[in-house]
Symmetry: C2
Subunit: 471 residues, 2 copies
């Protein structure tokens, strides 16, 4: 697994790392390394040779400079909640945890920005700014445990993206360390800035392959005062997806529009011991509207309900108190974990233009029949982002390994033919890289490699990720 | 002016270009070349050796491949409305006009996106989507003549950025040609996409130095149904700037918040023969609120008016019919041209964190006194973006040339010390590049150069721009 040119970590390296970070922050016990060898991607584990927990950007610089000089691969790590294997140290070497860079440096209520270190939990950041009447909308399901730095690395999305955008839409500035140890600063508390190339944006979604982010400046917006949720069960999943398109063509912009297959909802019911209204339905839409005026929201909710009924919704249920809404969202956030606890699985993070979603729902069902596989789907339908969890269930290992690669390749070919892409918000990382040539041609991949080389000529930063082994 | 390694255009080259674009689209007359040698930056003119008007991406590819092979510099050109000299062919060679790639390819009302060629006039694009109830907010003052492709190249902003963001916030996908002739496509009709590095975003604001954009996919939003404008004259410009900060801390987000010095308003009155209310004031705020509910807007307008009065506004005038609002915005858009027609000038596109704007207004006045210069300021105060027009007026050439560079350098040093940057929306181009080391350190500039090399290893694309000659 060690690419040519990298070398193994020696006791002398470990001693050097201890001098940089302090003994307590250099982990070499096998039990620790197994923790740092995994994230939340399937059951994969690639233990690093050493895990480091630097305290600040200066220590990150010293570590990278050392690793560059000694050709030791470095895999940056946030909270380890990634779903594409971005934090897996697949080439060994160093796992570089940003967990100790965990301070919110400033909530600037005059300029509506927050300056933070990368190791802050996203929900902590959100609740901190909400206490000031401000809002940081990107809201991945893992927000209770993921780090904001990992959100940048993957360009995390979540249910609010259809109205409020994704992580990249909030990044105004970054401080980061290059693989040679150089510290760079880009942007700041500026809504407009065309002073040089927008390299801050390039780092967003680069999955730790270009630089290690050590400080982040994020745009905030005023927190909407009112919020209501609607749940619409449908007897036909494609009809649910069609209803969603009609909501948008009616020029309404919900703050969330989630598509949940009945099977996904039933997994969550079983796991959490809670019930979801009409969970026997084929699929549900979970819709949220927000704004500053309740009567406007009520009016919009009526229009949404009319559209859902016209497309065949069984019912449209309103949740407008905090407890009911919190319950709904807790169920929704737990669905991924619930579905994945059912069976060995493989998750795909498909994304298509929103209006093609009904077609995508149909394609998944068609391919499952064709390849004799079972899949449960759910996701952020409002932006065409459907998580497809293919389940092994009772299949033998041979059947599973035989059927899966062809089914996934065909799924991605169909997605790309619809104008879609391989991943909406989980990233490519380790587990999707082999499919990259389906989405990007040789010109695009060659250009990406040249950009990678411009940032990390030694190739020590998160090697083995994003780029396909064979093009 | 020809950097080492470039060669002059020969008659054989011209013949080759004629074979590619057709005779009518290869311009060599001196009068034509003078048009292609200028944009709207001061009175600068650097005629190209030949101007080409390709019809499609294929012709752009052939031209770039040819120019790469023959080391002929290529300066892409939109409508020539730039204010930093981005379209000036400072090294001679080819001016590559995108004017004939001028079709809107699709307004997709289901997915709320528009797919367009780069040579479409921004206002035409806006009006086309508005006819479908959709909205493309970025709104540079030159929108009646600038091209959407140039808006991408410069990451154009305009007055709506404080609520709706700038060009980059709407770019979902691009097709572009690299300097070796390779065509690349990135992104698409996808609100979320983390399939590889976000190179589409990197092209936005890269001022034609990385690739030539040949197709663009832009996000649209529903067009707000209601809009009102307020004009608040102040006897103290800094008080006007302070009022603006208070509007934001009251958690209101106007759709525009322009700061206009009295002197700027009076230039526009003189030029256009129209009157502006209370134009003898030291400064005005021109505020716009939009949304879907008129009564909510009226309530917000009341709060805005109260804040303005509390900060010392002389009056707050409401414009709520289309004609009055159109008149106000016409005056506002004409201010740049009006101020610049007064005298030889030098414009700086300063940007600071919004809450530092009162300080910036003071700094400009202080530096003018110190350096014995006269400046008129106006701009997008809601995002801290102040256009500073330094006027030569009665100064001798010697006085002007003697005082100006030091004053500008000091202005930028003060701006950067406030957390600001050299340009909010005009770009660096030719006229600001010497100041880049004030904003970016050697690490950042070296990284930018490596990124430039990754895209354009021959350095033929828009040479002489952005990067300082000496670092």
């Amino acid at each position: 697994m060690i690419p040519t040119g990298f070398r193994r970590v020696t006791p002398a390296d470990v001693a050097a790392f201890r001098a940089i970070c302090g003994d307590a922050n250099v982990l070499t016990d096998q039990s620790d390394l197994e923790i740092y060898g995994a994230d939340e991607t399937e059951d994969l584990c690639f233990p690093p040779e050493v895990a480091l927990r630097p305290a600040n950007a200066g220590e990150v610089q010293t570590i990278l400079r050392y690793c560059g000089e000694h050709r030791i691969p470095v895999t940056p790590r946030g909270a380890g909640t990634g779903l594409s294997g971005g934090a897996l140290p697949v080439s060994g070497g160093v796992s570089l945890s940003l967990a100790r860079l965990n301070r919110i440096l400033e909530v600037d209520t005059d300029n509506l920005v927050v300056v933070t270190q990368p190791g802050v939990i996203t929900q902590v950041l959100q609740e901190t700014v909400e206490a000031e009447g401000l809002y940081y909308p990107p809201d991945p399901a893992s927000r209770g445990s993921c780090f904001i730095g990992g959100n940048l690395a993957e360009c995390a999305g979540g249910p609010r993206a259809l109205k409020y955008g994704v992580t990249k839409d909030y990044v105004l500035g970054v401080e980061a360390v290059l693989s040679n140890g150089d510290l760079i600063r880009w942007g700041g508390k500026l809504l407009k800035n065309v002073t040089g190339y927008n390299l801050a944006q390039l780092l967003v979604g680069s999955e730790g392959t270009l630089a290690v982010i050590t400080e982040i400046t994020l745009k905030l917006i005023p927190l909407p005062k009112e919020r209501i949720c609607l749940v619409a069960p449908f007897d036909d999943g494609q009809a649910a997806a069609r209803a969603l398109t009609k909501i948008f063509t009616a020029r309404l912009t919900p703050s969330a529009a989630e598509y949940l297959e009945g099977a996904a909802v039933r997994c969550a019911e079983a796991k959490f011991g809670k019930s979801f209204p009409q969970s026997d339905a084929d699929a549900h839409l979970l819709l949220e509207l927000d704004g500053n005026d309740r009567s406007l929201l009520d009016k919009d909710a009526e229009t949404v309900a009319e559209i859902c009924f016209a497309e065949g919704a069984r019912d449209v249920l309103l949740a407008d108190d905090r407890t009911k809404m919190a319950d709904l969202w807790e169920m929704r956030r737990g669905i991924g974990e619930a579905v994945k606890s059912v069976s060995v699985y493989k998750e795909e993070d498909t994304v298509v233009p929103r209006a093609r979603l009904p077609e995508l729902v149909g394609v998944v069902r068609e391919l499952c029949r064709k390849h004799k596989l079972d899949a449960i789907t759910y996701g952020h339908a409002g932006d065409g982002n459907l998580h497809v969890n293919i389940l092994k269930r009772e299949l033998t290992d041979a059947e599973w390994n035989d059927r899966l690669p062809g089914a996934i390749a065909e799924l991605f070919q169909r997605v790309v033919a619809m104008g879609g892409a391989l991943s909406g918000e989980h990233g490519i990382g380790w587990v999707q890289k082999r499919y990259m040539p389906i989405a990007l041609g040789p010109n695009e991949l060659a250009l990406m490699r040249r950009v990678k080389h411009a940032f990390d000529p030694l190739g020590i930063l998160n090697p083995g990720k994003i780029f396909p082994d064979v093009e």
